[in-house]
Structures are given as C-alpha cells and as structure tokens.
Symmetry: C2
Subunit: 491 residues, 2 copies
C-alpha cells in the first residue's frame, strides 16, 4: 500500500495557522502559516533555477529560519536535502557532493565565502539570499507526502573511513517523531530548544517533530550556554536536546540554582555520558533522559522514559515503542547482562546507504541493523551502551573514525605508519590523538596538524601527536588500536 499524507507543513499550517513554529532570541517569531508560505515561495524560486523532483540539493548552513525554510522547500518540490556538516574540510565536502551527485549547494550568507571554495569542485553554490531575490516560477508543488519517498541524506563516517550517505525517507522521520512522542508524551505547552546543528539528525529530527506535532521550536544558531539557560529559565522551554559537553556547561552555569518545573526533559544523546555527570545532573534536579541513537536510526531509538529516569541512571532505556533491539554475540542472541553487539530494527531505521551495496550488506541482516556498538540488556530489558562503534571516538557529540584520520595521516610524506585513538577529555568527552612512525626525520607535529587541517574537519584533527618506533600489530599485521594507549609517555 502506498502510504500518503497531506504535506506535513501544509497540514500543520491548516491545523494551527497562528501557532509559533520557530522562535529565536532577538528575531521575530514565525508561525506555521508563515513558515509554509516562506517554504513554498522558496520552492518556487528554486524551481526557477531548474530544481526538480528527485534532485539532490545540499544545504551548507548554520541554524537559522532560512535554513529551515530551505529544508522544507525541497520537500515541496520532491527534491532531496543533503545536509552538510559545516565543520568538514573542503576535501570532505567535495567527496559528499560527488558521492551524492549534488546539483546545487544552498548556503547561509555567513558561510558563503567558505562555500564558494566548494564551487571549485564544480558544484554550483547559491546563498539563501541569492535565491530569495529571484522571481517565483509558477509551478505545481507537492500536496502530498509519500512515506516511502526519500527525504534527506546525511553522511556518517564508517569504520572503513569512507563516509556513507544515510538515506532517510519521510517515513523514517515520521516514525522517529511518533516514537519519541509515545515515550515522552505530547503536551500543548511543549517548546523544544534546538542548539544542536540541524545538519545532524538529532537537530533535524526536532524540525520534523515541530511540523508533525504543531510544536514551537526555540532555535539557537549554535550552542551558547547563556542562551540555552535563558531559554529554559525565561522562555518556558520544556525539552532540550543536548550532548554531554553541553550538559557539563549548563550545570556549571546553573550553579546552585534549579531550573523551573516547565523544563520536563533534557534529552541526552550523542555518545555515552559518565556516571558522575549523570549524578551531578540528578543532584541538580535536571530531568536527564539518556538516549541511544545514530544517524541510521533517524535520532533516538532507545530512551530512558520519565518513569525510569531516576532509578536507571546510566541506562539508555528501552527501545521505543515501534522499535526493537537485541544483543548479538557470535550470531546468537546474548543472554541477559551479557555484552554483545547492539542490533536494532524499526520503521525509523534507514532502509540503506546511498549507492553503497557493500555497506548495506555489512550493516543489514534480515531487517536488523548491526550497529557495531557494544552493550547489554539487564534483566528488565534496560539497555546499557558500553562502547560506541568499535574504536569510534566521540568528541563534543561529533563522531570521529580513527581509520578516516589515519588515512589522511598516511598520505603525509614522511609518515610510515599512523594510529589514532580517543583520549579522555574533561571538556569534550574524548579527543583524537595520533601515534606516528615516521620515515623522514624532519617531520614535526606542526606539519602534521597543518596538513590535517586542510583535509579534515577541525574536530577530527589529532590534538596530540606522539612519534613512536613501531605500532602494535597482531599476527595478521593489523593495527591493534587498543594497545596504542601503552605507547603514551609515562610522566
């Protein structure tokens, strides 16, 4: 059966025309009917540039109403939004544009200069403002959404080092939004603060919830501890999505104060949180709900529910209602309390990677996604995530795959071998550090870092470089990353 619905933004504008859709500090708010009008107008202007259904259009922007408008406008055309991480290097962006066959990059004004460097790779770049100056083409826009149609593509790094385009259908986003509502409940008073970048699925998913629930979003350009604090204390925000480092800073800012009762949920994702951080939050009365999810699951797929939040500290909860979860060890489902690989299943899970059969084959088994993450279920079915994907480094909520950094290091003249691991860091959770065997005496740390800065997003660049004689390798000569830690100089 083809599952269709009225276009979500049209529908919400019909249901709640005058309700606030987006509120921002120091900018005028936008209602659902205004957002619909903006998005449709933008769509007709894009159409005048030849943008058509099925086209892949990249968005390269910091959080703003214009970015949200652009994302929704593409759905009116039936074009697919490829959301680019603005922290990536030009080389990384160029790879994604080519891999996703992007025909146009839409950029926010403040990034246009940076974006124009992308243009050298051959893809046309236009700012939101440039599009807005165009005349509208009188063209038929989509009135209905088909749930199985492709909506967005977001790249995620793989263990092999080459990023993979995660495809989200409208249905994936729909089921993600509904799953979250079934867990957190849904109130007319809800206002969800977005400080996560909208190019990550954690941020994007809140936009989808906004138009599906009819819920105002309190939008920040980026995480700013004072603005988030203000939103919670003064602007009646009820839900905030954060990663660990944001929570750390909010607690610092909070001091001996407590948040008002209006804050009902601080949704904590983007990697494991330390027990001490969770306990600190608890002692401050912050309603932290730990979550587990990834780009492939269109945001959270397991979350600690309100009723269990206080008694199950450290758990990411149970799989959301429409989702399933199992722990697998040697192709067998693991017994209770035994660590194994986390497998997930559900209608919010991507149906596959863009043009990447190999990655699909590795990831999917009988409708289940093998996440590569390690964890266990306790005797009541609560999930405890032990380690994110093998060797994955999570720094301030961003994923870093050692293999990707190593392959850049390997390409530096003078580097014979390179190994990268994460090192604990109070501020960022983890930071990447590198171990290098060099074959050119003069090579120094600065040279290495400079080269990396040209080819990698800044957050992926090793924060410390150690020159060593040899890397630990196993019998088949494979790098044994977990032994790298032993090479650290003892001080």
């Amino acid at each position: 059966m083809v599952e269709t619905m009225q276009h979500w933004l049209d529908k919400q504008a019909d249901l709640s025309p005058n309700r606030i859709a987006i509120e921002q500090p120091n900018r005028e708010s936008v209602t659902f009917s205004q957002l619909r009008d903006k998005a449709k107008s933008f769509a007709r202007k894009l159409a005048s540039q030849g943008v058509k259904s099925g086209n892949h259009i990249a968005i390269y922007a910091t959080n703003s109403i214009e970015m949200i408008t652009a994302i929704h406008s593409l759905s009116y055309i039936g074009a697919i939004a490829v959301l680019l991480n603005t922290r990536l290097s030009n080389t990384e962006v160029a790879f994604q544009l080519k891999d996703a066959n992007v025909s146009l990059v839409l950029s926010s004004e403040n990034l246009l200069e940076k974006a124009s460097l992308i243009e050298n790779s051959g893809t046309s770049v236009k700012s939101f403002e440039q599009i807005n100056k165009l005349a509208e083409l009188d063209t038929e826009l989509k009135r209905e959404i088909c749930l199985e149609d492709l909506c967005t593509i977001i790249y995620t790094s793989g263990t092999t080092g080459l990023p993979k385009g995660v495809q989200h259908s409208y249905g994936n986003h729909w089921w993600s939004a509904i799953s979250s509502a079934l867990n957190l409940g849904l109130s007319d008073n809800d206002r969800w603060l977005v400080a996560l970048p909208l190019f990550h699925v954690g941020g994007l998913s809140i936009l989808m919830k906004s138009i599906i629930y009819g819920m105002p979003v309190y939008l920040l350009e980026k995480f700013d501890v004072d603005q988030v604090h203000h939103g919670i204390v003064e602007r009646n925000v009820t839900i905030v999505s954060v990663v660990s480092i944001m929570l750390v800073r909010l607690i610092e800012k909070l001091g001996v104060q407590t948040y008002p009762k209006t804050l009902r949920c601080m949704l904590l994702g983007g990697g494991p949180a330390s027990k001490s951080l969770l306990e600190q939050a608890k002692s401050h009365g912050i309603p932290v709900f730990q979550t587990y999810g990834m780009t492939e699951t269109s945001s959270q797929i397991a979350t600690l529910s309100p009723k269990d939040a206080l008694t199950r500290l450290g758990s990411a909860g149970k799989a959301l209602f429409p989702a399933q979860l199992k722990i697998v060890n040697n192709a067998q489902v693991s017994p209770v309390n035994e660590i194994g690989e986390i497998f997930v299943k559900g209608l919010m899970v991507t149906s596959g990677y863009l043009n990447n059969d190999k990655a699909d084959k590795m990831a999917f088994q009988n409708g289940w996604l093998a996440t590569g993450d390690l964890g266990y279920l306790d005797d009541e079915g609560f999930l405890y995530v032990m380690d994110r994907r093998k060797d994955l480094i999570i720094s301030g909520g961003e994923n870093i795959y050692p293999a990707e950094v190593e392959s850049v290091l390997d390409s530096i003249q003078g580097v014979a071998e390179a190994g990268v691991i994460g090192s604990e860091d109070d501020r960022w959770g983890q930071i990447p550090i590198a171990f290098i065997v060099k074959n050119k005496k003069s090579l120094d740390e600065k040279e290495i870092v400079d080269y990396c800065l040209q080819h990698l997003a800044k957050f992926k660049v090793p924060k410390r470089v150690y020159f060593v004689d040899a890397l630990p390798r196993n019998a088949s000569n494979k790098l044994v990353r977990h032994k790298l830690i032993n090479l650290l100089p003892t001080e």
Copy 2:
C-alpha cells in the same frame, strides 16, 4: 516495504510491566504484564481448539477483562476478531457469522444462553470460561505484528440495508491511535474511561490506544451514569468517550457541581449533537470535543482540538493530522461554506469491505472514501456535519438504516409498503418510526412490533407505527423518505 513491529501487548508489557492496563469498579486491576500473560494463555487454549492464523473468530460479549483478553489473544494467533453487536437479533447475527465465514463464537458467560441460540445456525459457541478451563497447547505465538494484516471486522449497516463487514488492519488501528494522540496530546496521567461497547469501533479503538500508549483504561461493563460520574470525580479519569445521550445524562447527574480539572477531554461522537446540548456542556465547564468518524475510519477522523473547542461550538473540527477531508458536490470539490458529501482519506480508513466488491466500488474513489454524510467546511477549514448518511437514523449512538428496517417490515404478511424515518427524541436523539400501507385489514401495530423484535435488534424496531393510505414517491416511483414526515397525524 513490509511494516512490522513487536506485538503491541508484548511491547507494552516490556516497557511498562507494572502499569495498570485495565481498572474496573469493584474488580481487581490488571497490569500490562498480567494482561499479556492472560492473552497468551488464552491464545494457547484457543489453539488447542484448532484456532489458527487467518481464522475468523466472533466475539459476542459485554465489556469485561475477559472480552479484552480474548480480543488480544486472537492477535497472538493471527486470527481475526469479528466483533458482534450483542443487541442484534439472531437473524442479524446469523447473517454476519455466515458472511464473515466465522468458525467459532466466543461468548461472555452472561450471554451464553442467548449465544447458544446462534449455535443453531451451525457455528460453534464457547464461553470465555469454557475456553479458560482447557489446557494450553504449546504453540508458537506471533511475536510481531504486520501493519497490513487484518486485525478486526466490524459490521456496519449500509444504505442498501445489508450490513457490510468493515475490515480493520493493524495499521488502521495504529494510525487511528496515533492520530488521536497528535490531536489530544499524550500524558503519563491519562486514564480513558470506556463505557461504549467494545464491539463498536469507538470502544475498541480505546483498547488499541491503551496498549500502544501504555495507558490505563477505566472499564465499565456498560454506560451507567453513576459509575461514569464516579470515575471522573473519584478515580482521576482524564478522558471519556461518550455519545450525546450519555452526555445528557451526565449533565443531569452533575447538577450544579463541576468536574475536577483532571477531566481534560469528553470526546463526543456517534452522530451530531444539538447546539443546546453543547452549550449546556460548555456552561457546566465540561471540556467537550466533538468528533466525526465511523466504523470505516477506525473511530474519529476529525476532532475539534483543545485550542478550538470553545470557539467552534458545533463543529467536528479539522481532519486529524494523518487524515484528509474534502466536500464534494457533483464530482467537484465544493467551495467554502457549501454543503456537499464528505469524503475522507487517510491510513486509518479501511481498505475495503469483506468480500464485497460492489460496496467497495460504491464507497472508494481514487483512494478517498465517500462517506455519504453531508457537511461543509468553513473558511478556516472547520468541518460542520449536517446530516449523517442519507436517511441514517442515529439512536443512542447506534446506527439504524431505514432500508434495513423497511425490508423486514415488507416481509410481514399484510404489509403492502413501508417507510421508516427518524423522529426527534429528547432521550435518544432519534427513534425510528414507521409508515405502513397495509393490504390486510386485521394487521395491527403489536403484530408488526413483535415480528420486528424477532428479526431486528431492539433499538431498530419502530417505536411508533402509522398506518397510511399511500407513501410519497417520486417520478421513478422511489420512496421519498423526507416527505414521510408530512404524513404524521396533526394533533
């Protein structure tokens, strides 16, 4: 894509094992894990009787935990529940059993005697208690639900007089539950009172919501004004589904009292309500949300939302988020404020009637269901229902099709012609009354009523019979029902 989920009751029992699933006055409550255990046990006992996936099993019962257990147990087997209206005559029930190819009728204890009369039609009847005494068969039960699979069948009378089996897939029930949550919101404190019979979709849909939301149901065997009042005032019920006559009686009972703030929604369905009733409710501070729906839409498809309830008295609101609605006149979409036939579309709408291509062809047009009901949309998209399906009589929330009653009347010896309409009634909304042209002098009202009582549910039996000389007919000799009213004796 095949859309599967973990079995809903298993899932909710995993998520909220100790939460109350069903509460009843003067009976012990049942938690979700207990309900799951009961339903699985009952399923294994049914399996011992040869009940298999795909079988059509009728339920003939008054509201009870046993009835709920039986309904859920069938989903563990993959059998389809045919929900019988216990108010129907044996002839009517026999038709449905045959039409739906029912292999077994499950009856509540209190109806077993009545049900055993059904057995004469050749279908085996067992009470819940009889099944409960059996040993369990060790058989594999369903772990997953496939949304496109058939879940329930509920008969609805058609304009032609012959009832049609409305097929509800799991997906229909799912989308109905989600649609309602998106409109009414979802709170951890919710407790939904069920006084409607569970064999109607309005009652059944609350069971589905219960296991999908993890929400306790406050179950009454039948509508009892004192018990409903008690539930609202003493037992923290937050939502109640009612039909007009129930609301009338609740307001009488309420007197000068008001309900506690815990009652957040009185969902009013089952036919149009008079403006004076709605105003009375408003003056008592009762949060009435008028709805529009039918068996084919798996309960409400349009509902006045909380934010519009007070300003749009008399409207049934807007189509729920995943639903669409249009008004059609002469095959054209009607302009604003113009009355036409109501068409609906959405994933909660049945995909068709059981083995009834003719009815399907009449009802469905390009994915839209032609409801036969008349109404209009105002300039802001609010639906006003003017008349339910052509000539439909709604009495105490039960549908009565004149054609069905007329065809029984026509079969009485001595009746030459018969016409049936609804007459306004303070208590029931409407009651059926009959106009008869007789060709046997001795025929009297008692004879007619007695005959009807044998062949029709009591609520369908004409409450008054008028003997007339001729019925109003049009040029093609078709009965013109709306002119029957002119034949009423003037007093």
